[in-house]
């Protein structure tokens, strides 16, 4: 399945937006302008963008504590996201959710999630809903290697396989759960083998390669949409930064990190491929880089100028109607 120029530029724009958005957040937190627990997606852009390139607003995505990339890939407005992270009333969640709960149902983004593994059953339920309502839509659960050790992973995949739900389970294996290397806590090399327990189809993709993720996702979603059941897609990737902003990174080797950053950057890989293949011009990419920077600057300016939520918001949106 080939992508035309426009599609390629859209994909690049999304990856670049994620990269620049996260870099900007890093600066803002360092400058003390932003608070909370902030987990950046830098380095893993190809996974979210490669998968979401196949999704519409009606396909549901559930995410993790590291959710900005999934939001942007799913088309959530970055100005609303930025305002949310500033805790402003204009935030996409009125400033109530923050980084770990950023969401936009209008874009089929059911939310980042502060509870590791909790998004997996939520996506399973969205898949059940799609199947029962015969909408033809799919649900995608993004989660990490660490989350694959949660009971919710086991229970959800078993139910989905049992009911042949149209759910794609994307495990982003970035080699670490917080500070603990994956091989310390998972005795198998490929998390994809865990699909065996449920008689489920599985695939492995190079999570640093947009094109590989894109194609494996295409194959996986075909399977889901044909009604043949869920798929477990393992994307091998790497977290360029720390677990959270401020992580001193004492627990991993600088050499290892440098190698990934220098030789496996998904944006570099994408650019090299499309330029060599003559699919787009460098100018197009630089223009996008520039536009993205401007959009983000504007988002920051607008967010900083926006008001905080009124204190009455403390107890609104707890229930649908006025109950206590």
């Amino acid at each position: 399945m080939d992508l035309n120029r426009d599609q390629l530029l859209v994909a690049y724009r999304k990856m670049r937006t994620i990269r620049s958005f996260e870099e900007k957040l890093g600066e803002l937190v360092a400058a003390g302008k932003m608070g909370g627990f902030m987990h950046l997606y830098t380095g893993e852009e190809a996974v979210a963008v490669g998968v979401c390139a196949h999704l519409s607003d009606d396909d549901i995505v559930t995410s993790t504590h590291r959710g900005h990339g999934h939001c942007i890939a799913k088309g959530v407005d970055v100005a609303g996201m930025m305002a949310e992270l500033f805790g402003r009333a204009t935030g996409i969640c009125k400033g109530k959710g923050g980084s770990m709960h950023i969401a936009d149902l209008d874009r089929g983004m059911l939310g980042a999630n502060g509870i590791v593994g909790a998004g997996i059953p939520l996506a399973t339920g969205a898949g059940l809903s799609a199947k029962l309502r015969r909408t033809g839509h799919v649900a995608v659960a993004f989660f990490g290697d660490g989350a694959s050790n949660q009971g919710s992973f086991h229970e959800s995949l078993n139910m989905a396989a049992n009911w042949k739900l149209p759910v794609l389970y994307v495990v982003e294996n970035n080699g670490f759960g917080e500070f603990t290397p994956t091989e310390f806590v998972i005795p198998v090399k490929d998390i994809a083998v865990r699909a065996t327990s449920y008689g489920m189809k599985s695939l492995i993709a190079d999570g640093m390669d947009f094109f590989d993720v894109f194609e494996k996702t295409d194959e996986a979603l075909d399977h889901c949409r044909r009604g043949e059941g869920p798929v477990l897609l393992e994307c091998k990737t790497y977290r360029f930064g720390g677990h959270f902003v401020g992580d001193p990174l004492v627990y991993r080797s600088k050499e290892e990190a440098e190698d990934w950053i220098q030789n496996h950057d998904p944006l570099d890989g994408f650019e090299n491929h499309v330029i060599e293949a003559g699919l787009v011009d460098t100018d197009d990419l630089r223009r996008i880089d520039h536009e993205v920077r401007e959009i983000l600057e504007a988002a920051v300016t607008a967010a900083e100028a926006a008001p905080f939520p009124d204190l009455s918001e403390l107890t609104t949106d707890v229930y649908g109607e006025a109950t206590r």
Binding site: T62, H101, I115, A118, P121, A123, G125, S156, N158, V318
Partner: protein, 335 residues
């Protein structure tokens, strides 16, 4: 028109009406069909471990789903389906199993609307059997509604009779917020008049089931009949006429109804089947000594289970559960 139905039959009828009137309503749980929905000679379904949902899978074969024994996945799937267009009724076989699936309620269903700035709604109903009385012992007899009541974003209701069970369950299913619906073992086998057709009992309103004026007995679920028994005996033996208030809903709590009867009687005894700490009983006592302070004429007494697990041995279990005798003793202790 109304007939005599068991508590379970009233629940079954409510689910039938809800599923019939709304295709987005589904019923999920372990053995809710119970091996049903199959062809094969002599194969029938159980309809739940207590038979409460028997027959529903025949009416709605695609919407009554037997799930694996996976409460976390089951509950989380229910939340995900509720967030995306369905109105799931999830059966948690016994409330004690909350320990295996608390997160989807504590951190997802209850908070999604708020975390999303009001843009999500989670029309989820969780049906669960609570309380002691069947010698089911420490892990199948707990009254854990105090946990769901304490979690902002959840609603918790607990009917005391079949008619209320039907009306409250229909209201719960159609509520746009997650509602925990408790089915207390003490009344699960009871029978009573149940109106036919489709009706709802509003969530958040208590029901004054007896007017006395001398003292207020507050109960809910299985303790309402205990309060009524005690009230009868108090009238006969002590000439004390008791108000009996059936809370029906634990969250929202009908504070006005509680204060109204307190203002008449000045005396309150709360009868709660759960353990004593951080309970509905202490909540009501706290309300009385705050907003109701000026009405108080006597200590607010709480009749609850002891601070301990539910014992298996029959005599111990009977002593564990609040009784009319202990309620009467509490009233007399108020002097």
């Amino acid at each position: 028109m109304s007939r005599i139905l068991t508590f379970g039959a009233a629940i079954n009828e409510a689910i039938y009406i809800a599923m019939k009137s709304d295709p987005s309503v589904i019923l999920m749980g372990e053995d809710v069909a119970g091996g049903g929905n199959r062809d094969g000679d002599g194969i029938d379904e159980m309809g739940g471990v207590l038979g409460t949902t028997k027959g529903l899978v025949k009416h709605f074969p695609d919407r009554v789903l037997d799930t694996p024994i996976s409460e976390m996945g089951l509950m989380g799937t229910g939340v995900g389906a509720a967030a995306t267009g369905m109105r799931p009724i999830v059966e948690l076989m016994f409330m004690d199993f909350l320990g295996t699936c608390l997160d989807p309620l504590l951190n997802q269903a209850s908070k999604l609307r708020y975390m999303l700035g009001g843009k999500a709604r989670i029309p989820l109903t969780v049906r669960t059997v609570s309380g002691a009385g069947m010698q089911a012992a420490a892990q199948h007899s707990q009254s854990l509604y105090w946990i769901t009541t304490g979690i902002p974003g959840l609603k918790t209701v607990i009917p005391s009779n079949p008619a209320d069970a039907k009306g409250l369950l229909l209201a719960a299913i159609r509520d746009d917020d997650p509602v925990i619906f408790c089915e207390p073992k003490l009344v699960l086998g009871s029978k009573g008049e149940v109106p036919e057709g489709d009706y709802e009992i509003p969530i958040g309103k208590a029901n004054l089931v007896r007017e006395g004026g001398d003292v207020t007995l507050i109960g809910f679920g299985g303790t309402v009949s205990i309060c009524l028994k005690a009230a009868k005996q108090l009238a006969a033996e002590d000439g004390i006429e008791a108000d009996v208030l059936d809370l029906r809903s634990l969250q929202p709590l009908d504070e006005e109804a509680i204060l109204a009867t307190l203002s008449r009687t000045g005396r309150v005894v709360i009868v709660d089947e759960s353990t004593p700490r951080c309970s509905i009983a202490t909540d009501i006592a706290a309300l009385c000594v705050d907003r109701g302070f000026d009405f108080l004429e006597a200590p607010v007494k709480r009749v609850t289970a002891p601070h301990g697990p539910v014992p298996f041995s029959r005599p111990l279990e009977q002593a564990y559960i609040p009784s009319a005798a202990s309620v009467i003793a509490a009233v007399r202790a108020q002097g």
